[in-house]
Symmetry: C2
Subunit: 195 residues, 2 copies
Amino acid sequence: MRVYLAGPEVFLPNAREVLDAKIALARRHGFIPVSPGDLEIEHKPTKREFGLAISAVNEKLMLSAEAIIANLTPFRGIAADTGTVYELGFMCARGCPAFGFSNVAQSHFERLQIYYDGKIAGDAQGRPRGPDGLAVEDFDMVENLMLDGGIEARGGAFVTRTVPPGQLFTDLTAFEECLAIAARRLLEGGASSAP
Amino acid sequence: MRVYLAGPEVFLPNAREVLDAKIALARRHGFIPVSPGDLEIEHKPTKREFGLAISAVNEKLMLSAEAIIANLTPFRGIAADTGTVYELGFMCARGCPAFGFSNVAQSHFERLQIYYDGKIAGDAQGRPRGPDGLAVEDFDMVENLMLDGGIEARGGAFVTRTVPPGQLFTDLTAFEECLAIAARRLLEGGASSAP
């Protein structure tokens, strides 16, 4: 089974090394990994055309895959990398089994409490809101409910973990836990083990 | 044509008012609007189950739509709302025409320059990176290249605009510009006007 390995690792200084480690782990768990950066992108006359070519290659790679494992660790803020989230939605629409992991164990609500410095209060209807008036989702979820919901609806799992400082995007323990769960559910033909 | 109106307006204190204004504008441009919050969600025993029910309803609404207009204005940080981005990827995978707008006119690269306080420098290969080592996308795009690329590949447009302070999520000028472009491209049967 071909599994698309989505995540912001492509932005790391040691991207190739981390992507190769993810590819090796996916193989060890019985999957055929498909990873952004697998294909060479030919030179283009403008930056924008080059970016569009990367997008087209990644979409093509996704269309060649049957499942996704997405690194949804908060990226440059309190939420997941938008490129990765686009890819999660893309694969969920295709009906593919979807798995997510985050190297931050806090829930979406806990991250928002920090973002709002604890200043979350109920409105007239009792709905929690930040000082900016925006409603604060409190659904016992890791991310926005569309992400957690999309993963769960496709039989996947969302694994979270606290990792040592400085290893936010390089610790692959949660990723490997995703692989183990995905292998049990998708590769072992476990019709008899399903409830 | 049914068009799904994705965006973080659902979190606003005056969500219903803004959603109704979007719905009215979409109708005025000839579309049948489909909007999160259109359907009642029945009560559930836990917060998580309630969140999953909202996710399921939104996915059902998306499956009933043939196009999407996504509000990709930076939300609680420098990037778009992850729920909206999931929905954009979802509709793009279904091959639906996709349009986006942002009430922040800066490019992704310009927002990252502010995020990194101008401290972006080329690495040994000349690739721009922040002080944290993360590569900085510089593709003349509004958002992560998967978002801009997904919209462009489906014949859509990504409209940006600077709005007055305090109107980041309520100014509907860019949204209406999206509607006008979408109506021209999708409703006027413009085979003869296409290049």
